[in-house]
Symmetry: C2
DNA sequence: CTTACGCATTCCGATATAGGCATATGATGA
DNA sequence: TCATCATATGCCTATATCGGAATGCGTAAG
């Protein structure tokens, strides 16, 4: 097979640094493509392509305003991401204490019984 | 140029569904590679490769235990992700009200002054 | 030392980008 | 209708995976 499609969900959409920058800019309000491209130092076609990905996963919305197309943030798609990552919150600080403890117990168990009793 | 490297940061690491599954499994404690591969229905080499990526971005840690290598979660790298996404929290519900309001103001402004004063 | 087991790595092929460039499309205005 | 501005798309190249299959390597056991 091949590589997985990155265009399919919010996780992949925000994996791209430039797309993250676009989203951050859009927090300040709607913006036309050219302005986004200029502010982020990328070409207009690139901006359009990134915006297309963001639109396909539902993170931005477009609105025609005369000749321009104003892109606006739709952050609802970020909520599942936030929740998924949040599921690890209690491990951020705890992880290493638990690991150390685990290791310590294991070492101790090995010292007590002669080199034989292997777990599993 | 080419595609951005996915191996470089946590955002890219968790963009892969299988890697997310690995992380979820590891919340339950340390696990050897073969067990992860079996539980997730993937080949052992694939599991090793995903684990390598996760290790390179610092989301998992390895520990040799006899013939086995136990992988454990190190969720600290997820914290920046959580914080970045959290920066959009106040837009999750607000976005569309603001948009509607914005549009309404714009329409109104256009009706008041004759077709001329265009912003920007 | 040889075998067996667990895991990592390498080689390979297919594919999906990211980016640049040129161009098509759409809407606006003369 | 034609020219112009703002965007979107198509084409092309280089690259970076993801996945599979085979193999290398380290540790433990006979």
């Amino acid at each position: 097979m091949a590589r997985a499609a990155t265009t399919s969900d919010a996780f992949n959409a925000i994996a791209e640094p430039q797309r993250r920058e676009i989203l951050v800019l859009l927090r300040g309000g709607e913006r036309p493509v050219t302005e986004l491209a200029r502010d982020l130092g990328m070409s207009q076609p690139q901006a359009s392509k990134h915006l297309r990905v963001l639109r396909e996963v539902g993170l931005v919305r477009v609105r025609g305003a005369g000749k321009q197309r104003l892109y606006g943030l739709d952050a609802r798609g970020l909520r599942p991401v936030h929740e998924w990552v949040g599921g690890f919150e209690r491990f951020w600080d705890e992880t290493f204490d638990r690991l150390d403890e685990y290791v310590r117990n294991l070492e101790q168990a090995r010292q007590e019984e002669p080199p034989d009793g292997d777990d599993r």
